[in-house]
Symmetry: D2
Subunit: 160 residues, 4 copies
C-alpha cells in the first residue's frame, strides 16, 4: 500500500512567530506525526501550498486539482484548512479512480492538545478502506462534499 499526502496549509500546520505576534502556516507536521506513529506503509509527501484556507483563491484550487489529478497514486490524503475544505473537496470530485480524503485540524499540531494526530490517523484508515471518491474526514466522521458544514461555535464539522 502506498499513500500520497499533499499539504496545502491550514491550522494543522500553523506556528506562532513571536516577533510579529502573528500566526502563520509553517512546515507540515504530517511527517512527524507519521514518524511517531511508526507507520508500516510507504508514502510520498508533497507540500503544494502554505495557506490559511480562507485565503485560498480559485487559482489555488485549480493547482490542487491539477496536482492530485496528475499524481499516479490511487490513495490520496490532502491536508487543508477547515474553512474552505468543502469547496476544494467539491472541485476534486472531477477526479476519477482515486480515493481522496481531505483532513485538517481545529488546533495546530504544535499544541499539546491538538486533534491533528487523531485526524491524520483517521484519514489514513479512511483512505485505505473507502471506495473511490472524495471524502472529508473531520471530528471522527466521514462526510461527502457538499453535504457538510463547519459549525464555528462547536468547532466541529456537521452533516448538512
Amino acid at each position: 500500500m502506498r499513500i500520497k499526502i499533499f499539504a496545502t496549509g491550514g491550522t494543522i500546520d500553523k506556528v506562532y512567530f513571536d516577533q510579529k505576534s502573528t500566526y502563520q502556516v509553517g512546515e507540515s507536521r504530517v511527517a512527524e506525526i507519521l514518524r511517531v506513529a511508526n507507520i508500516g506503509f510507504e508514502y510520498e509527501f508533497e507540500s503544494i501550498l502554505k495557506k490559511d484556507s480562507l485565503d485560498m483563491t480559485g487559482e489555488d484550487r485549480q493547482l490542487i486539482l491539477d496536482k492530485v489529478k496528475g499524481d499516479s497514486h490511487e490513495l490520496v490524503i490532502v491536508t487543508h484548512g477547515t474553512d474552505s475544505m468543502d469547496l476544494t473537496a467539491r472541485e476534486l470530485q472531477a477526479i476519477e479512480n482515486k480515493v481522496i480524503v481531505l483532513t485538517g485540524a481545529m488546533q495546530p499540531a504544535k499544541f499539546i492538545s491538538s486533534d491533528a494526530e487523531f485526524n491524520i490517523g483517521f484519514a489514513v484508515a479512511a483512505v485505505q478502506t473507502l471506495p473511490y471518491g472524495v471524502y472529508l474526514a473531520m471530528n471522527g466522521r466521514i462526510f461527502r462534499p457538499g453535504k457538510v458544514r463547519k459549525n464555528p461555535d462547536l468547532q466541529r464539522f456537521e452533516s448538512l
Copy 2:
C-alpha cells in the same frame, strides 16, 4: 453512529509511579483523546481490565469475549496491550454481526510523543468503514487475526 469502546489495559494506558519506580496501567486515556479530537459521534466507554497484555490469562480473554458478545453495539473498539493483542483478536472471531477493531500503542498516551492519538483516530475510522469481522489496527495498517506478528525490533506490527 454509536461506537462502544472497551479498555483492557496495555501500554496505551501506562503511567509511572515514582514511589515504586514501576510502571503500571492507569486510567484509560481514550476519553481524553476523543475530547481533544472533539468527535461528532456518540460512544460508550467501559473499562474491563487494567492489565499488561503479557499478564492476560485465558480467564481474562473469556471475560473480554463475554463483554463484547453481550454488548448491543455493532461497532466495537477494544484497546489492548500489544504483546497478546492477536491472541485476543482470534478469540473474538467467535462473535458475529459486529465490526470489532483492536488497537493499542507502543508508547504510553501520557508521553509527549505517542502513537496513541493516531491509533485511536485510525481505529475510529476503521470501525465505521470495514465490514463485519475482527481486525487489528496498528501502525497505520489493518490486519486480520492470525495473520500478524509484532516485530519487537522495529516496534511495529507486520503481516505474516
Copy 3:
C-alpha cells in the same frame, strides 16, 4: 514562603481561535504549570490584564503598578508579554521593599515545546533568592530594568 503572581497577558498565555484565525490571550497557564510542578509553597494568583504587551498603554502600566504596590506580599512574580516587559519593569522600580520578578515566554505555554515551564520555574527560584528590587527573568538569565533588550532575531533577551 508565600508568592503573589500577577498575570498581565503576553505570549505565555496565548491561545488559538480557529474560527477567527487569530491568536489571542486566553486564561493564564501559570496555575497549571505550578500544579504539574507540585509546588510546596503557597501562592496567590490574580489576573490583571490579558494583553499583548505591544498593546499595553500607560494606563495599563499604571494599573499594574497600583496592583503590585497595593499588594501585601513581599515576593511578586508578574507574567508579561516580552515586547514591552522592560517598560513595565522600569515603572515598577518605584516600589520598595519587594522582590518583583517579571517573566513571560517566547512560545505559548499551550505548545508542546514552550519555554513557559522553564521560565516560571526560573522566576520562582529568582523571587525567593534575590534581594529587594525589580528583575526580568528570561532565557535562563536575570536582567535589571533598563539594562536589557529583546533580540528579535535570536528570540532572546540580552544585556545592554
Copy 4:
C-alpha cells in the same frame, strides 16, 4: 556565566521500552529542555551515570563527588533520582567554593505533564543566585542537605 550540568540518572530521564515492558534511564533530556528555553548562557553537559537513585552505591556517590570536585566550574547542577538525592547532597558538602544544586523530577521529562522543565528552570536560577554551598531544588523550594525528606504520598520534598 557558565554552568556545568552533570546527569546521573533518575526519573527525569526515564523512558519506556515496550518490548520489555520496563522503564529505564535513557539519554538525558536536559539539553533539549535548555534548547527549548533558548537559554542565553553557556553550559557544559556531562553524563556520569544512568541510574535509578535507589540503585546507587557508595562507589557511585564517590564517582559523583570526584567528578564535581575535579570540575573547574563554580556553578554546578546535578540531575539525580529523587529517592537518594539527599544522600548524595550530603556527601557533596565536602566540596568548597562552588554552588552545587541538585534537582530531578517526579515525572519523566518525556511525559506531557512533567515537573522536569520547571525544575531545571528553577535550578538554573538557584545556581546563579545562591551563595557557595550545596542545595536541593525540588517542588519550587530550596532545601539544605540533611534538612529534607521526600514525602512519597504527596510526591513532594518537605523540610525536616
